[in-house]
């Protein structure tokens, strides 16, 4: 049997107003991004609770990316500003615990940036693929 290359599982939390529309635009423009990216639509990047990120890793994600409106452009005025602080703190903590920092990312993608969405995802998937399987924040019970 041929050994297949490790296919990572990426969870992308995308805000409804910008990044999710950005992903849509990427699709409409036929811009490729890997199918390993599973998008979860959230009302705002600020909706992402740190627990969501950890839960994604627990259930088998190899990388988690959070996408929201550009700072200043939040549909709810300031949601992404709060998200920015929270995720900066959370990801810094994960890094402190020795979880590879390339497994987490925050990107601002507007509804007009289909190309940026595609490029971001391609880049993120490539980096996470290089890291291999998520071993440091895994729940073995979910791998069986």
């Amino acid at each position: 049997m041929q050994i297949t290359e490790h296919k990572p599982l990426i969870v992308a939390f995308c805000c409804n107003w910008c990044s999710y529309a950005g992903a849509d635009l990427a699709g409409n423009n036929r811009l490729n991004y890997p199918a390993d990216v599973k998008i979860i639509r959230v009302p705002c990047s600020c909706r992402v609770n740190p627990m969501f990120v950890l839960r994604a890793f627990q259930k088998g994600a190899d990388g988690v990316i959070i996408c929201g409106c550009h700072p200043g452009d939040c549909h709810y005025t300031s949601g992404n500003y709060y998200a920015r602080r929270r995720m900066a703190m959370l990801f810094s903590m994960l890094d402190y615990l020795g979880i590879e920092r390339e497994r987490t990312r925050v990107e601002w993608v507007s509804a007009a940036e289909g190309a940026k969405f595609s490029a971001t995802m391609n880049d993120f998937v490539e980096k996470v693929t290089k890291l291999g399987k998520n071993k440091r924040l895994e729940d073995l019970r979910c791998k069986k």
Partner: protein, 342 residues
């Protein structure tokens, strides 16, 4: 009775480890004793006792019971038990050994707990007399003699030698295993050591702790005692006392959804937790006072009532040294009327 010199003890460990898994208390990085699987270079801890009790060997903190897999309308039930290996636990103190008897009463009476029973069958317990009981020790209140620990094999340590005596069939087998490394001896030295220990026991600050006011049939007398409110008033409701306790045996059974099936496992539970024995209608103990009372009534009244007077505490003193606010069973016993004779 057999003996070996203390310098030979490591070769005995080596011999045991050749045949079975050997666990013994060793000093960890924090300088505290902890049961670990023996490896070359591990030394038996000099500490009086471990932070966590050895009950884990028979009743692990989490234990998978079974798994479920669903496909369509079918549910497949998978028995996840694997064949248990034999193991030896060395250096168990008299109190902890007695705690195993208490656990036996819970898990081995019908309906027998097969998970526990299989651990019990495969384990050989080698106890070690306490040469230096400490101020937190009050095992004598429950009729335990640290100079005469039970278990499959009892061991005594003197200045230069270690003595072994088998108490059970399993113990005989163990003695047979280390026969070439030990020699036959009389019990003179051990007797001297026992006397030394007894003398220390008399001097312990908690030596005269009385259990007179407790035991089966005292429920009515103690349940509504006004002291409970005061005793529990600053209890944090954490589970430290229950999780370091060698006799606490309550557990919860939970399902974990793996996304591909369900793992049913059991884990230690603590009566100090607000979600202990939570039922559909809610909780039957709503305040920390009630939860606190449950823990001590269970150990001092309910358990002896159902088990011919055996108390559910062995006086190991772990809760005394580990409680973040230093509230413990000794304070409860003294307050509720267990007078000291001094």
């Amino acid at each position: 009775m057999r003996k070996c010199s203390l310098s030979a003890i490591n070769s005995i460990f080596e011999e045991i480890a050749k045949n079975t898994m050997l666990f013994l208390p060793v000093d960890n990085k924090d300088g505290k004793a902890e049961y670990k699987k023996w490896q070359e270079g591990f030394l038996l801890s000099e500490k009086l006792n471990t932070v966590k009790s050895p009950k884990e060997f028979l009743f692990p903190q989490t234990e998978n019971l079974m798994e479920f897999k669903t496909s369509g309308k079918n549910i497949e039930i998978i028995d996840t038990r694997t064949a248990k290996e034999d193991f030896v636990v060395f250096g168990v103190r008299a109190c902890d050994a007695k705690a195993f008897d208490i656990l036996d009463k819970v898990f081995l009476t019908e309906p027998r707990d097969s998970y526990y029973a299989s651990c019990r069958e495969h384990g050989t317990i080698i106890t070690l007399a306490c040469n230096k009981p400490s101020e937190t020790c009050f095992c004598s209140a429950f009729g335990i003699d640290p100079a005469n620990p039970m278990g499959d094999v009892s061991a005594w340590k003197t200045e230069n030698e270690m003595f072994f005596e088998a108490n059970t069939e399993k113990g005989e087998k163990f003695i047979e295993l280390i026969k070439n490394l030990t020699e036959k001896t009389d019990n003179k030295e051990v007797k001297k050591q026992k006397e030394k220990i007894s003398n220390i026991m008399k001097k312990l600050p908690l030596a005269n702790l009385s259990t007179e006011k407790f035991g089966g049939g005292k429920t009515k007398e103690l349940f509504d005692a006004p002291e409970w409110a005061e005793l529990s008033s600053t209890c944090l409701g954490c589970g430290t006392c229950t999780f370091v306790c060698p006799t606490c045996q309550c557990y919860d059974i939970k399902d974990f959804n793996t996304g591909k099936g369900v793992i049913r496992f059991r884990c230690w539970d603590s009566c100090m937790y607000s979600n202990f024995t939570l039922m559909a209608h809610g909780n039957n103990r709503n305040s920390q006072k009630e939860r606190f009372r449950q823990r001590f009534m269970h150990k001092l009244v309910y358990f002896p009532e159902n088990n011919d007077g055996t108390f559910g505490c062995v006086g190991c003193g772990r809760c005394l040294s580990r409680c973040p606010i230093s509230m413990n069973i000794v304070k409860v016993m003294k307050k509720l009327g267990g007078k000291t004779n001094d």
